[in-house]
């Protein structure tokens, strides 16, 4: 059917679902992050691969892993700076994100890169970075409890009242 003088009818609607989501076997990672500013990876009991983000099972060997404490330093494998984004983050642009390989880890994890100088020459492959944490009262046991900054900016970031360094 094609209608002459078609007039559309739009309605406002939304889908909202609330959760109490369990982190399952990964729970310890988030508890230690929140309570003790520790970054835990896991090491395969068989092949020794260190997973970061952690997995309680090694997807390559099909064996269990052990928790291991990771250093708070690492290197950017690849990164970008975001200038236009989703409705949930559009108020935060520009922001840097990067896949970071923590020292000792065999895999890279995605994390936010904060910098006083958010430019591609600063947020790039090979840049050494260090973890900065929110204050204890602001930590919720989520990935947003911490972020990374270029190593040479670390002291400036942990001097800010809302942030602190790791142990």
């Amino acid at each position: 059917m094609s209608e002459e003088n078609f007039q559309e009818h739009e309605i406002r609607d939304r889908i909202v679902i609330q959760y109490k989501y369990t982190m399952g076997g990964q729970s310890k990672f988030f508890i230690e992050l929140m309570n003790n500013k520790k970054i835990l990876g896991t090491k395969c009991k068989k092949c020794g691969k260190i997973w970061m983000p952690p997995r309680i099972n090694c997807s390559e060997c099909f064996e269990d892993t052990d928790w291991v404490e990771m250093p708070h330093t690492g290197t950017i494998k690849v990164s970008t700076i975001v200038w236009y984004t989703t409705s949930a983050f559009i108020q935060s642009v520009p922001y840097g994100i990067a896949f970071i390989q923590l020292d000792k880890a065999d895999t890279g994890m995605l994390q936010g890169i904060f910098s006083e100088n958010l430019v591609p020459s600063k947020v790039k492959k090979g840049q050494r970075v260090k973890a900065v944490f929110k204050k204890k009262e602001d930590r919720e046991g989520k990935m947003t409890d911490f972020f990374f900054v270029p190593e040479d900016e670390y002291d400036a970031w942990i001097a800010k009242p809302q942030y602190e360094g790791g142990s």
Binding site: V82, Y84, T85, L110
Partner: protein, 416 residues
């Protein structure tokens, strides 16, 4: 088995006069009409099953949108199965429809993709796109990646940036040539959403999305439906189809969706595995594929990702994708241009047509089939001599999904 009918609705920013199931009806009717023009005499009642490609429930504001489409298409009391594989949904849907017919479960199968994203609306900016992007971003890992502000462009740009770190390309200029090509090809395709003349400068100075992708490097989200009618060999003969397009290879591969787990970040491994398997099934050679096909409809969600795909699909050696498009600009007979040695995205691809996610890979497959029938319209490539084409789909977090479809016309089947 063969594609006997192709139906593609126009790709538009928004259909105010159609719901998703009404769009699906239009595409199905077009595909039936095309099959009948191609020698068949069939109606929707002759279709034995349906495979639905619908990516995102949040776009459609309806979980299980396939069953409501099934009702609207008059396909009650027959099997209908939904596929959802991110941006690669279309390609995976073709693969599943192929399985439906190859297994003998159906002799005549409707393979349909649909998507209507732009009913999403962001009240804070008063625009659609940020909310569309948010609906997509829920496809990122919700625990580790969504909370960091990951989205489609920042995911794909990671691979492109890592590829640049490794090979020194694609440069911003080389990526811009993809935008010039696909927006330009779209001018020949009346169903495309973004026909445009653009220059390298226009692309490079367009609004930055995430470094180094600019707005004109990115496809626009679109609304559309695309349908194929697949028939078994016996059915093709029975119906007396004049120009069947035979599917000779189908393959897909899901690589690790966590980019940080990959051996090399600058690779879309899904492309490599899917392409090698599809070519092998079709009896073609990964290292000579550029000489063995006439045309390729690629999944160019982002310009830089099309450039890397040239390499991973075997058209040029690794690290030579950027120079391949840049150096062939305005040189007929060379490169991926519409008059080049291997035209890529003569339809305009996603950058030119728009990306109606579930419909996109089915549109690409249908477009490649129409090229082999020499019925593509104004964007028909000049030479169809090998009689073979490919369609490519990629999608998901970190472009983890890829599917490649190889097809041939009657002549292409006979050629070595």
């Amino acid at each position: 088995m063969a594609i006997i009918g192709v139906g593609i609705t126009p790709f538009r920013a928004r259909y105010l006069d159609k719901t998703y199931f009404e769009l699906a009806y239009d595409a199905t009717k077009l595909a039936l009409g095309d099959a009948n023009k191609n020698g068949a005499e069939i109606t929707h009642n002759d279709l034995e099953s349906t495979v639905y490609g619908i990516y995102n429930e949040l776009f459609e504001r309806q979980f299980m949108p396939d069953i409501f489409t099934n009702s609207y298409l008059g396909m009650n009391n027959k099997p209908g199965t939904r596929i959802a594989s991110g941006g690669a949904t279309g390609g995976y849907t073709v693969r599943m429809a192929y399985s439906e017919v190859a297994s003998g479960l159906s002799d005549l199968c409707l393979c349909i993709g649909l998507e209507k994203c732009n009913d999403c609306y962001d009240e804070q900016t008063g625009t659609t796109t940020p909310e569309v992007l948010n609906a997509i971003a829920y496809s990122a890992d919700m625990t580790y990646e969504y909370p960091m502000g990951m989205m489609a462009a920042s995911s794909y740009v990671s691979m492109v940036n890592a590829h640049y770190d490794e090979f020194g390309n694609p440069t911003e200029e080389q990526m811009a040539y993809v935008s010039i090509k696909n927006h330009g090809n779209a001018k020949l395709n009346p169903k495309a959403q973004s026909p445009m003349d653009v220059t390298v400068e226009d692309v490079i100075y367009s609004r930055i999305i995430c470094y180094p992708f600019k707005m004109l490097d990115c496809c626009l989200y679109s609304e559309a439906s695309a349908a194929l009618i697949l028939a078994s060999e016996q059915k093709v003969k029975e119906l007396g189809i004049e120009k069947p397009i035979w599917i000779t290879g189908v393959a897909a591969a899901n690589t690790d969706c966590f980019i940080g787990n990959r051996e090399s970040v600058g690779r879309l491994y899904s492309n490599i595995y899917a392409a090698k398997a599809a070519y092998k099934m079709a009896g073609l050679d990964y290292n000579k594929i550029k000489e063995q096909i006439d045309v390729a409809e690629l999944h160019d969600a982002f310009s830089g990702q099309e450039v890397i795909s040239y390499e991973e699909l075997g058209f040029v050696p690794f690290g030579e994708g950027g120079p391949w498009i840049e150096k062939s600009f305005e040189k007929p007979g060379e490169g991926p241009w519409i008059d080049g040695e291997l035209p890529c995205c003569p339809s305009g691809g996603l950058i030119g047509c728009g990306h109606a996610v579930g419909a996109t890979g089915i549109m690409s497959t249908g477009e490649a089939a129409l090229q082999l029938r020499q019925e593509a319209g104004k964007h028909q490539v000049k030479t169809i001599e090998k009689g073979r084409a490919i369609a490519h789909s990629i999608g998901g977090p970190g472009a983890a999904y890829a599917a490649v479809i190889v097809m041939a016309n009657e002549e292409g089947l006979k050629k070595p």
